[in-house]
Symmetry: C2
Subunit: 464 residues, 2 copies
């Protein structure tokens, strides 16, 4: 049990709630402050990422706070990608060669509510809602909030202040405006935006698409995906260019045009979406951005975590998992905390940043993989070979996807390096015709391993 220092946490979303709970379990006095109303008591806005892919790194974090079982109880397993082509044919591409490795669809609101409920039970946690952070005094470790209803301004102070206030972080803005240290920062938007839509349950409350998959309609430049919800519906997300191509957010301005676009590209989905046009024009179009920054901390008083430190695009299903893993890593670093927060923050960033940088880049890669490559023959060949290798040699072979998603004992950076080299090796071997049906699986494994090793060594040699 650490001594009862007070920690101010800005933002009670997924990362902030989990962090509050964990730090309270360690004995800290927690003041958790949220801009929005209590999501357990209000309907959240439509069209704002309703469900999430929850996998091993996130599960490990829930285990740390003793909530693994409660979280898994509200999950729908997704065993693979169900690919829909333009002829309305489908095929399942499993996420792993092992049956027990799958990802889960979970409601963002339900998961957040679970964490808030548990945090609230702790005697050393105070939670306030409707209080927007306007500014952080970095050197003092205090923050100014404004109450949404009363407009009253209040100042809160902590031994330290942790900002888990998301991609638009107020703490990060205060760091950016401070000129006492060099602050590296980037925000990068894709040329695509997203729009949330839905496929409702049928009249019996049943799923209208295969339940246990993440559905993808890859169409080269754009794509649609769908994740199942507990009520039998699917949350559908359209990823579409803002301005480029024949159809884009700029020129889809009428119901006819929207339906024409879906009819041409996603005919089987369209049949299940009677409210398409209505939802399309009611729901907002969201941007897809990546945020990186450094340092994550200032003056030994403040620290950024979760999306506030590293917002990523959603294409690896790792945004929430990465933020949850932040809490696990920070918790480990705290085991060696001697009272010097500046030192602790530095150690945390040193341990963690390489991995969040890697998952940000991997998530961008996966955008191209999902919208383009899942439909390409050579990619499908590679994916088939990968899952076959995983099935036959689970201890000796892991695809990039498996390293990132199911091997939480490996950091994202290592997963990226090994995974990318493997991908290169496989594509090269397939393109050169070296993976033929004449050779045994064992020989294929040997070939892939050898070529991967060769690529890794070459990369090292020539990194000079």
């Amino acid at each position: 049990m650490e001594k009862q220092e007070k920690i101010l946490i800005i933002g009670a979303g997924l990362c902030g709630s989990l962090l509050a709970l964990r730090l309270a379990q360690r004995g800290y006095e927690i003041d958790l402050v949220e801009k929005r109303p209590d999501l357990r008591k209000t309907d959240i806005a439509a069209g704002r990422s309703i469900n999430l892919a929850f996998s091993n790194r996130g599960i490990k974090a829930m285990k740390l706070v003793g909530l693994e079982k409660k979280a898994l109880d509200i999950c729908i397993p997704m065993n693979g990608r169900m690919i829909h082509n333009t002829e309305s044919e489908t095929f399942l591409s499993p996420y792993s060669g092992l049956e027990e490795e799958y990802i889960n669809s979970i409601s963002r609101t339900d998961l957040n509510a679970l964490l808030l409920d548990e945090a609230e039970k702790m005697p050393n946690v105070t939670i306030s809602f409707n209080k927007e952070c306007k500014k952080v005094n970095l050197k003092e470790g205090s923050a100014e909030f404004q109450d949404y209803n009363t407009k009253e301004k209040i100042t809160k102070t902590g031994s330290i202040v942790i900002g888990t206030d998301g991609a638009g972080s107020s703490l990060r803005k205060s760091m950016m405006e401070d000129h006492g240290f060099l602050f590296s920062f980037s925000q990068d938007y894709l040329q695509h935006g997203y729009k949330e839509l839905s496929i409702l349950a049928d009249k019996n409350g049943d799923f209208q698409l295969y339940k246990n998959a993440l559905h993808i309609w890859p169409r080269g430049e754009n794509m649609v995906i769908a994740l199942p919800n507990l009520d039998g519906s699917f949350t559908v997300t359209l990823f579409l260019s803002y301005e480029e191509g024949e159809y884009n957010f700029k020129n889809l301005t009428s119901a006819e045009k929207v339906e024409e676009y879906f009819e041409k590209n996603y005919p089987d989905a369209l049949k299940l979406m009677p409210n398409l046009a209505e939802e399309f024009f009611e729901n907002p179009t969201g941007p897809l951005g990546t945020v990186k920054c450094s340092p994550w901390h200032s003056y030994g008083k403040t620290l950024l975590m979760g999306d506030a430190a590293h917002a990523i695009v959603p294409f690896y299903g790792q945004g929430m998992n990465a933020s949850f893993e932040d809490v696990v890593v920070f918790d480990e670093i705290l085991n060696n905390h001697t009272g010097d927060w500046n030192e602790t923050f530095k150690r945390y960033q040193k341990e963690r940043k390489k991995d969040t940088d890697a998952i940000a880049d991997l998530a961008i890669d996966n955008f191209y993989e999902m919208k383009e490559h899942t439909a390409a023959p050579i990619f499908q060949q590679k994916r088939k070979l990968e899952t076959a290798l995983e099935e036959e040699f689970p201890a000796e072979y892991s695809s990039k996807y498996r390293l990132v998603t199911f091997q939480e004992e490996i950091g994202y950076q290592e997963a990226m390096q090994r995974g990318r080299a493997q991908d290169k090796a496989m594509l090269k071997l397939i393109a050169e015709g070296k993976i033929s049906d004449d050779i045994s699986m064992k020989e294929k494994l040997k070939l892939v391993k050898k070529e991967t090793q060769h690529i890794l060594e070459n990369d090292e040699l020539t990194s000079l």
Copy 2:
């Protein structure tokens, strides 16, 4: 001669002055506004990058405005890097295998003055100094300025506004604060800062180091460089970590400590720097940052150029050359301008941004190359092979450095792709012992070309 539209240019530094001159030559009415006083009439602050490396891309731009000869008249040719080791031994590593290919040391102030003089001669150019841009109205194409002396605020308007106001661009800030479009932005600082120092001429006014070279003292983590000036002095720049390593900007707090550091690492330079400590504590420590952003334009009314659009670190000696090349590219795009500025800005960015992104990355690479690799045996072997190939087969072989610096007909992006593949190929061949004295130069060329081609094809294949 284009019609007499009025163009407001913010910033009369190197890029802004050149742009003003060129657009005036095309017939536009130019309003050029500068924050600082007229540098032809005032002493500029010490310690702010006094001289620059001027090479083919910059020269091409000066040719475009008819000032090539006048610029070359104030240059000092630098034929290669003069490397100084800790034993005070030196050796020259030429920039090219061809004698006629060299870079030039030029005074920033003299070059800027030359451009201002010529711009001022044009009847359709107005230049105002001491007027700081506070804010740009993006949709109107107007900007608010404050006079440094009178504090008076004035607003100026143009058909379009071009921001050539440097790395801290006021126009770019206005774009960042506008929320009418998605603005991708990054500022990335190195862990190193720089400090300008000097080696004066001897009592006869002669150079105390070999005149026609860029001198480098590579020391792994840190380095010192020196460029010659027309008056016999050298401008010396120390690149040192802010906080890391045994000696850094944070702990060099006394004259003794500074001299101790130089005595250990740069003893031959120290002998020529009697005012080292004084200069060290008088001159500011500058940060080394890279800025990228997109879009470079907004609402068909404003455009960023030069450092305002793409600030880079100084290690390739290409900052000014890249900004000058911006003007050349924009000038070419203007040949097809039909009156639709939004379209013209888009075409310019599409043509240009890939190349400025590339030179930004190349400049970071070169930091590592200069401070670490120039001292490494394998790098020196590679460099020797490269210059030998260039000397013997100038039409068939160009090193990365030569592609970037001396082949202005090739864009930076292409130079980067080809150059990086070549570097990889050479290092691999040398490491594998395939470049032996037994084989002819012709065979060496063949080997390098084959391996380079192989790497480029592999990269393409596996970019899926």
